[in-house]
Symmetry: C6
Subunit: 268 residues, 6 copies
């Protein structure tokens, strides 16, 4: 595993380190596509590097949460085989046993039964009861649980319960500032600095548009997409059309507003 590409935006690396040292679970808050997944990949890689014993084969176990994710999907289940039933650990159990970092992306999308499974792993007990096996797994000393969500488009019915939430330290993420974002775009899309800077500036201007329908301003990822198309010879305005205008909204008014900003940045 080579070092994941990650450019720190502030003190998030130190804060995560401090939390990890105390094994306090961490909650990452921030908009979609701002780099939370990359950050966790980077931290897991950093931490695995410094482990004294054998690092786990899989230092990071990522689970994208959704409405239909059951507790069994996390914890494990029996499979029927020719010899009867065999137990298969779920990703959470695997992480707890091997001392990996377990990352639950968009945790509020999970059903209540999923989040409740996390409780005994996130307090002084650090255990995971496998009720269907009739045993309890004590978490490996290196194990840590990390969760994330985007407070921007939460429905209130899908908030974390206080009894779950008050188990985490929260680190807040935002979009990178234009200079840093230009650096990322140049690196990821392989475009010259001036194109990257223009795209980063465009991103910042769109995010400032006061359009209620524009739920999430364009992510860094979308700016990289636009850059990649431009790098392939697509005209900048057309590239913005595909990556920023049509991809962010179906509303014609919002599309026009975004397109106008793009045209102001890139001459025809």
């Amino acid at each position: 595993m080579t070092a994941p590409f990650y450019l720190p935006a502030g003190d998030e690396v130190d804060l995560f380190r401090a939390a990890y040292d105390q094994r306090i679970p961490v909650l990452l808050k921030g908009p979609t596509g701002c780099g939370k997944t990359r950050f966790v990949e980077y931290m897991a890689w950093e931490i695995a590097k410094q482990r004294t014993g054998t690092p786990p084969d899989e230092p990071l176990v990522t689970i994208t949460c959704h409405d239909d994710l059951t507790a069994a999907d996390l914890v494990g289940r029996y499979l029927l085989s020719a010899e009867g039933t065999t137990w298969l650990d779920g990703p959470l159990t695997r992480a707890a046993r091997t001392g990996a970092i377990c990352y639950l992306d968009e945790v509020v999308e999970a059903r209540k039964d999923t989040t409740v499974v996390l409780h005994s792993l996130t307090d002084h007990r650090r255990t995971l009861p496998l009720e269907r096996l009739g045993t309890t797994v004590a978490a490996h000393p290196d194990f840590l649980l990390v969760v994330s969500y985007n407070p921007g488009y939460q429905v209130t019915s899908k908030d974390l319960k206080p009894s779950t939430r008050q188990r985490f330290l929260a680190i807040e993420f935002g979009y990178p500032d234009p200079e840093l974002e230009a650096e990322i775009i140049a690196h990821e899309a392989g475009v010259p600095a001036d194109v990257a800077e223009a795209l980063a500036a465009l991103g910042a201007r769109i995010r400032n548009l006061d359009a209620a329908d524009l739920l999430d301003g364009p992510s860094t990822r979308l700016l990289v997409h636009a850059g990649a198309l431009i790098g392939r010879g697509v005209a900048p305005r057309r590239a913005c059309d595909l990556a920023l205008v049509l991809a962010t909204s179906d509303d014609r008014d919002v599309q026009d507003a975004v397109r106008q900003v793009a045209h102001a940045v890139f001459a025809a």
Copy 2:
């Protein structure tokens, strides 16, 4: 596999090519029956033709999404056999392994758990975790995910989440312009040019009718249907009745309005 019949309407072939070269997932937006499925078939055929290694047996894997499509339907499941359980790859896994283009038609119809499965395949990771197998598939370098939907009749409760949507470049489709549409009708229905032109003109006029109940103007497919009936000797007005009037609406007022336009185009 012979080349699928597809007449480009604009720069969509080049744009798709640019996206494919960067392996950026593509979202096709447009009304029903305007040719999105044919376009993907055409692009998959074009791309397979140019592959250096062995092209996959099945260069395009199409999945029509619906409410009850589970993650297991996409990813795969265990089947019980005499030797215990055997794993059967789902179509998404098959496409990821063989480097096919995987096309999810009407993606917003899918449940959240289905779309979330797509996340790690549509960012820098390009992986598909098969949790029930306990392994992760790295996508074949030629693999690309394409999705489509029709913004015209979305219910807001069924929109894509920003965290899903901001993973795609969007290409917009509309109905072909009358000349192109006439060419398609002539080819598909096997009718003389004047009939095809009359039907194309009729299609354009119906789409302009300001009838709130007429959700989707008649698709090119319906115009081809009308042409096919005329080709079989059905009177043009009666053919329009079956293919355009009764097939598009149950509302008597809307039906009358459509019928009036048809009668204006085709003399009794």
Copy 3:
């Protein structure tokens, strides 16, 4: 199989023929009990008669749709047997393989996942993916899909999606005109012409009653029922009570209105 009893009411036989020759799927619209099922039986019999190869054992496969009809009910499923699992084709797959006409009665009652399964069978592809088998069935050249519904009592939440609907030619059915209906009643119930004519006239008059609660005027079937009772010696007014008054509504006012018409037609 002897020829099903069917008396054409207009050009529906020719139109169906034209559609079948082009293999364009057909949608039959009309009230309950007006003869749609018989019509399809008749057409399937006619078409099977003229087939050059071996006609299928079962020229018509009928499926009555409902809320709980799953895609697996249509397509097929695995059964567990002593030798592991065996695949059992569903009725749609059976029809597609053998070249039967597949008739989905009351198609709007089906869930979305059921109707979506029909998409690739009803456009230029004419294929049915059997995802759980990992294969795709190419429809037999003689296969055709026919669906029906009753626009009279649709709930809007149960309308066909445009992307489904715009795959069909629509043929509209109504109640037979009194002369034809009398002929049918006489044939089916075995009553003299005057009784059959009186019942047909009664049917027409009840259908014209302006009673909002009377959702579906009495079907031809109910008139046949009344005739059958009269043929067994039940007094005509009492027969109408059972077959037309009590069978069509629980509302006392509607019942009285219907009864009054019956009494006007049949003297005590």
Copy 4:
């Protein structure tokens, strides 16, 4: 099987006979506890007596419908055994094969998928497709379907669809008139004629109370219960309390109204 106890209240026996002779399905409408179940038992016994061939072991198959009754509960299902799976006919299939009368009590309680299963058995086809077996059962010539429901407390969301309803002849039932009801009470509860007559009169008076909360007037069964307690030495007023007052409502006002009537009929 000895003859079931049933006292005809009108022409219902002849009407049922006429319908049965034509094999037209029958719908019984009437309040709870008015004798519909007994009537069907009696008719099934009468018809079995007159059969020329071997009568079925079980001349009447009764199914009480409810929300969770699945189509499989009616039609049959596979059971897993040591030899793989074995098919077990459901009660409807059993009745159709053996020529029994199949009685679906409170049919509107059933889900839509259940009632739809009845369609092909209740028109000219008289067949029952067993999709999971891949076969179709042709109904025995003696088979008849009978359904019942209580129009008094239907929720409109649970009405029969016209396409189901217009397959039946309807026979209406009410409470027996006081003389007949007294005869029934005397026979069933084993009480002298004067007590039975008092209870029948009481029943009629309570049913006439204009209390909106009193959904279903006391059934004949409840009057029999009261008689049975009186026969065991319980004071008549106390017996009415248990059988008629507390058993019909939780509303104190309704209870008082009913109790007052009871006290007027039975002196302390």
Copy 5:
């Protein structure tokens, strides 16, 4: 089995006896914790004592109803074993076979399909169809069905259907009068008569409080709890706090009102 402790409050023992002698099903109505369960235990013991044949091992079969209780939970189900499937009688079937009293506690909590299963056991048929076995159990002559519910906190959507309800005789229960209740408290909690009397008086006073939020006045059980704590040396006011104040409500105002009454009865 030793005689269950039960102190009759009125004529309920004789009434139950009369109903049992006629095998008329019984419905017990009354608030929570007023002794319905004990009463049924007592009656089952009394009846088992007087049986001439061998009494059943289990004279009373109790089932606490809830939303998720399925018909199979009552009637029985197949279990998969090495020899294929074995049938396991449910508690209702067991009771019907052995002639036990079957007691369904809080019957309105059950789903409709559960209550419908009871129908043929509670009228002249006294049978239980085991559809999945393909057989019907005739109830043992000693079998009786008893159900209970609390009319105080019914939601109307969870009322018994008239067709179910009108199968039972209803016996009403209330809280015991203070003298009887004091006797019960003294016996159960092992406290001196004066403490028991004070608690019984307190119970009566709290039940008379006009507090809308106080859904169910404290049950006899809670007064016994308070007595038990006092017997263990807990100060009476503190004991009332735990057993009566905090246990009955989360509303601070209701708690204060209850506490005030407790303080009036027990000096500090």
Copy 6:
């Protein structure tokens, strides 16, 4: 098992002891993170120490309740193995058999069928029917059921039913007073007394903030988290940001209010 760390805040230890001696089930009410789980661990340890016979391997069985917790999850289920099916006791059954204390955390989150399973274990019967095994477990004499919930954020639809609730003695918990809380923080986070005291004072002040959105004041656990970060060298204001500001709310106004209090307590 070493003694769990628990500092009593009042008479809760004696009250629990009194309840346990009488085997009266206990309900713990109080906000999240105030120490209810620790208290039960402590009491289970204390009680196990004093047992005369062999103490159970697992003196405390904890189950965190949630919406999808089924009765089978508590009671047990069959597992399919090569020899057929084997029964696996659930945690509740295990506790009842071995005489452990069974603790249901957040009991109101459980579905009704779960709580109903508790009924016969929490009254004079002290039994647990295992319907699927066809047997009944008599609880071990040392068994006790303890449940908890947080009255602060109950939705009324999720209240305990009176028939469940009136089976428990209730002990109320609050946040520890500042002195005790400082002692806990110092012990758990390993920080000097002055930091612990400042954090305890901060906790008390935030809990007094009149902000409707601040559902649950910060738990002791969050104050310990803040202390742990400070102990790792994170600046106190930044530590409060992560542990108290961002972790308790997504509302910017609430965050500002909390941050202001934190800044007042900790100088920059």
